[in-house]
Amino acid sequence: MALPEILTGMRTVFKNVYKKKETTAYPEVRRQPFPRFKGRHILDRHPDGLEKCIGCELCAGACPADAILVVGADNEPGPRFSPGERYAQVYQINYLRCIFCGLCVEACPTEALLMTTEYEISGPSREGLVFTKDQLIVDEPIVRHWPTEKEYPPEHNLLKELEASRSETDAVGGARNAGDQRLKSTAASGRGGAQS
């Protein structure tokens, strides 16, 4: 009576037993994530080297896991950190809490906060998994995402500037990968805070 059901069930079992395996022998084999995979964050810089992050805490406010801590401060006269009045004096992401939802990246008004495809985030201590600003901020600006034509009216001359800079960035090419690459190498050579 129940035979058809049993056969249907067993068919599923056998189908999967002989299917190509998805699992890899990590860490010997490292899988390449999809380009839009949401991994560890970085903080970007402007082309002139100033920090894009203005310490606004919107990322912290958006975070459903309460993983981000930002403490703002005034850019004192003299060498400044960011272009405006405010910069992030403290910037921390707690990877014990982060659920990699990316809401922080969406909330960021300056596109300072980005997510890389790096997924190897583990460490021997709790403190080490709280990444601080010096671990998150990149040394060189990372070139990515420009506004689409939809976002600006075609007659607006800003678009032309953008087009111009876009062709420049194309020439630079692969900068983003370079950034990821660099992050990877830092990670491999002992991730500062993770051991501390």
Binding site: G55, E57, A60, G61, V71, G72, G84, E85, R86
Partner: protein, 858 residues
């Protein structure tokens, strides 16, 4: 018109009754219809400049501003009419044309009426893509306020506040047309004692706080309502905490007390709470003389040993204790230890508060702050309220300018009230009593004829160290002669509560005469210095800094008596203690403060105290336990059970209501709102709902017509926290105890007595920002503290061959010192010196009954 003389108005289809002539925006708000606004503020007069509140009124061709339209019978209003909504949208689009939209770095972002109303009522997008008008950003217009003119929406609120409420027009709109901007004059600083209020009422981030600049965002903050711990006005506040640190305080409106305002001391003087040097563990002095941090057990045992000496123990309590602490101190001293020597008057040492009993059944005010507005005459005899009771100054100003009260000021020196007083009676530093008597019988050159009823007589101790008996007795005589009310102004947030609970040598709790009157603070210090006391228990007081004879205080603490101190900060008194207990500060604790009108207002803790610090009442209960008496106190409620059982004047206090445990939910809530229930009504009903722990936690997050603004919700909360004044009866019991009749008769004028070359009579008084342990820990307030000076009569200055602003030489404790002279309206032969100046404490000069100071040419 309905039978009861009220106008019947229809708002969005719902009929309501309202007093004819009330402002439409208020009436709508009370029934839960929120009309968007920028320039309207309930504490200020309407100017209708922002045009955000346009509504449709039936029969009117044009839209009317709800903030300037009085309601009339039969009026039919539509606030969500298509035309009105269109106008509101249009206004917002206009306001945003030049707005920099830098919300991400704006301190107002997240609690900004412009943001909120743009979401709720705005068009959603702007058609304006041209360059915006720009100004220099982040102008520091004082040490406390930062101005960003780009963000300003020209609502005039700050200007109107400075003009109408504070009366100091430091901030104005300048220029015309698109260049109109807010500025201070000629780059003068925004030097107001009330500047912080403009930050709170500015509906955008144009005026922001410098101490709070970029410290936090509103969504990081944990907030709780509390009461200012400085002066006896007792302004309700919200304390905002981020990551365990107190980072901001703001005014919580209470129309009975502070309206919507605080002074800058109350608003910015919070840094001491999170200061690094807070005491956080009990300290016991070891045999070799050094302090050692110990556990509570050892410290309590050592203290109990010293306290078990009965009447050879003296207890001095300071003015920043809550009512519960006061009860605990009184019970510990008078019952457990068994000593009558208890006093709470330090800086106001010897102030004869018990004389108030001649007038009513309480040793305190019979008037409330609201009575000031209804008075025809107000007589002020006391310190400069702008310096020591700043928000009371605002209330007095309001009574005179808005309610046409006549203000008669009796004072030996020029003070802030003179600017709007009807009469100023200038007298000698000891001649106030004579001048006040003149008001009663018409003798002397006093405007007795102008004294009309109802009258409110105000008195507060003004010059520390002076015998105020004659002055206060004269004020009481005046009040009695007119059957008027008395506003008695003790100096600190907790002063009145301490009197009420019997931390007073001649009174027990509930103003009952003490069976054995104890020693006053001065007598205790003298006894300790002479070795007649074995132990001094000092709770929240620093006699060395505050007592009007620093030398005596030092001798007393250096004498043989063991000194037990309960404190929050390491004061000079703590340094001389033998056992020190760490106390919780106001933001870290439960409790109530009793203000100068005897109003009890509740504090809520918002952060834990440092280390093992705890409330003074708990420390008292632990000391009692160490002495073998278990009070069985577990918390606020059980302390109040005890108070209600033992303090007759407070037996009827409704603790549930005081603690606001069951108020109604917020009214600006589309779903939960029932038309017709006013806020006041729902507060009284008090059922259901939970009290929002922070002002944001109760906010229904939804767009639509009735979205609450952050500050509106705060105002709503406050309306539910009016505080309670314990009932009292009129009718005094005549002169009772302690100090006798006002003995000092009229004294001859000072100028006649003083011969050239004699020392000057020293008269002192507190200023708003001084070297006090609490306020001086806010660096911004320390920076704007006045540089040391003395005030003198112009002729005296001339006699010395000096002029205004010159330096004179004075002698302090045998050592010469230079000090700036300010020529002022003060009687000849007298010198006024602020009490607690940087590097110069007037109490070093105060000795004996007639303190004097020698002033010479340097």
């Amino acid at each position: 018109m309905t039978g009861n003389g009220k106008a019947e108005v229809t708002i969005n289809g719902t009929k309501v009754e309202a007093e004819p002539g009330r402002i439409l925006i208020d009436v709508a708000e009370e029934m839960g219809v929120f009309v968007p606004r920028f320039c309207y503020h309930p504490g200020l007069k309407s100017v209708a400049v922002c045009r955000m509140c346009l509504v449709q009124v039936e029969g009117q061709g044009k839209l009317l501003p709800a903030c300037a339209t009085p309601v009339a019978d039969g009026m039919s209003v539509n606030t969500v009419d298509e035309q009105a909504v269109d106008a509101q949208k249009g206004m917002l689009e206009f306001l945003l044309i030049n707005h920099p939209l830098d919300c991400p770095i704006c301190d107002r972002g997240g609690e900004c009426p412009l943001q909120d109303q743009t979401y709720a009522h705005g068009p959603g997008s702007s058609r304006y893509i041209e360059p915006k008008r720009t100004y220099e950003k982040a102008l520091e217009i004082s040490d406390l306020v930062v101005l960003d003119r780009e963000r300003c929406v020209l609502c005039w609120r700050c200007v109107r506040f400075s003009d109408e409420i504070a009366g100091d027009q430091f901030i104005q709109l300048v220029d015309r047309g698109p260049g109109t901007q807010i500025l201070t004059f000629n780059d003068e600083p925004f030097d107001s004692y009330f500047s912080g209020n403009t930050i709170q009422i500015c509906p955008v981030g144009a005026l922001t706080s410098k101490p709070y600049r970029f410290v936090s965002r509103p969504w990081d903050l944990k907030s709780a309502p509390s009461v200012c711990a400085y002066c006896s006005v007792g302004c309700p506040l919200t304390n905002d905490v981020r990551r365990g640190e107190l980072v901001r305080t703001q005014a919580l409106p209470n129309e009975n007390v502070n309206d919507f305002w605080t002074c800058d001391k109350g608003r910015f003087g919070y840094h001491y709470v999170s200061s690094q040097d807070r005491l956080d563990t009990p300290l016991v002095r070891q045999a070799e003389g050094a302090f050692e941090a110990t556990g509570w057990g050892e410290a309590l045992a050592t203290a109990a040993e010293h306290l078990g000496k009965g009447a050879r123990v003296g207890v001095i309590a300071g003015g920043h204790l809550t009512t519960e602490d006061a009860y605990a101190v009184a019970r510990l001293a008078k019952t457990t230890v068994g000593t009558p020597h208890v006093d709470s008057r330090i800086q106001d040492e010897g102030a004869p508060y018990e004389l108030a009993l001649r007038l009513g059944s309480v040793a305190g005010s019979t008037a409330t702050l609201n009575d000031l507005a209804g008075a025809r005459t107000i007589v002020w005899v006391g310190p400069d309220p702008k310096e020591v009771l700043p928000v009371l100054y605002l209330r007095l100003r309001e009574a005179v300018l808005d309610h046409n009260a006549k203000l008669i000021v009796v004072a030996p020196r020029r003070m802030s009230l003179d600017a709007f007083a009807t009469h100023v009676v200038r007298c000698d530093p000891a001649g106030e009593a004579r001048a006040v008597k003149g008001l009663v019988d018409g003798s002397e050159a006093t405007p007795a004829g102008d004294v009309g009823d109802p009258l409110v007589a105000c008195w507060g101790p003004s010059s520390p160290g002076r015998d105020e008996t004659a002055v206060f007795a004269a004020v009481i005589e005046l009040a009695a002669a007119h059957g008027s009310k008395l506003l008695m102004c003790p100096p600190h947030a907790g002063s009145q509560g301490l009197i009420d609970m019997g931390v007073y040598p001649s009174l027990d709790a509930s103003y009952v005469d003490a069976s054995t009157p104890g020693m006053t603070t001065r007598e205790m210090l003298e006894a300790a210095a002479a070795g007649e006391l074995d132990t001094l228990l000092i709770v929240g007081a620093d006699p060395i800094a505050d007592f009007p004879d620093a030398e005596l205080a030092e001798r007393a603490l250096a004498g043989g008596a063991a000194v037990i101190v309960v404190e929050i900060l390491p004061t000079e008194t703590v340094a001389r203690g033998d056992v020190v207990f760490p106390s919780a500060a106001y933001a870290e604790r439960d409790g109530t403060f009793t203000n100068l009108e005897r109003r009890l207002q509740k504090l809520e803790p918002v952060m834990p105290p440092p280390g093992s610090a705890t409330e003074p009442w708990k420390i008292c209960a632990r000391l009692a336990a160490a002495l073998g008496e278990d009070w069985g106190w577990t918390g606020f409620d059980s302390v109040w059970q005890d108070i209600k059982a033992n303090v007759a004047s407070h037996a009827a206090i409704d603790v549930e209501r005081l603690a606001q445990r069951a108020p109604a939910p917020a009214p600006f809530n589309e779903s939960g709102y029932e038309p017709g229930t006013s806020q006041a009504g729902s507060a009284a009903a008090g059922a259901g709902g939970t009290y929002p722990t922070g002002h944001r936690s109760g906010a229904p997050f939804q767009t639509g017509q009735n979205w609450p603004l952050s500050w509106e919700l705060r105002a709503f909360e406050a309306k539910q926290r009016p505080g309670l004044i314990p009932a009292h009866e009129p009718g005094g019991r005549g002169s009772s105890n302690g100090r006798g009749e006002a003995s000092s008769g009229p004294s001859p004028a000072l100028a006649a007595r003083r011969k050239s070359g004699d020392p000057f009579v020293l008269y002192t008084g507190r200023f708003i920002y001084d070297e006090g342990a609490m306020v001086s820990r806010t660096s911004a307030l320390r920076a704007i503290q006045k540089k040391p000076f003395i005030e003198m009569h112009p002729e005296d200055v001339k006699e010395l061959g000096l002029s205004d602003g010159d330096e004179a030489a004075i002698e302090v404790g045998g050592a010469p010192r230079r000090i700036r002279i300010v020529v002022s309206d003060i009687s000849k032969g007298a010198v006024f010196m602020p009490y607690d100046q940087a590097g110069l404490r007037a109490n070093r000069l105060l000795k004996g009954d007639q303190p004097t100071v020698v002033v010479t040419t340097p």
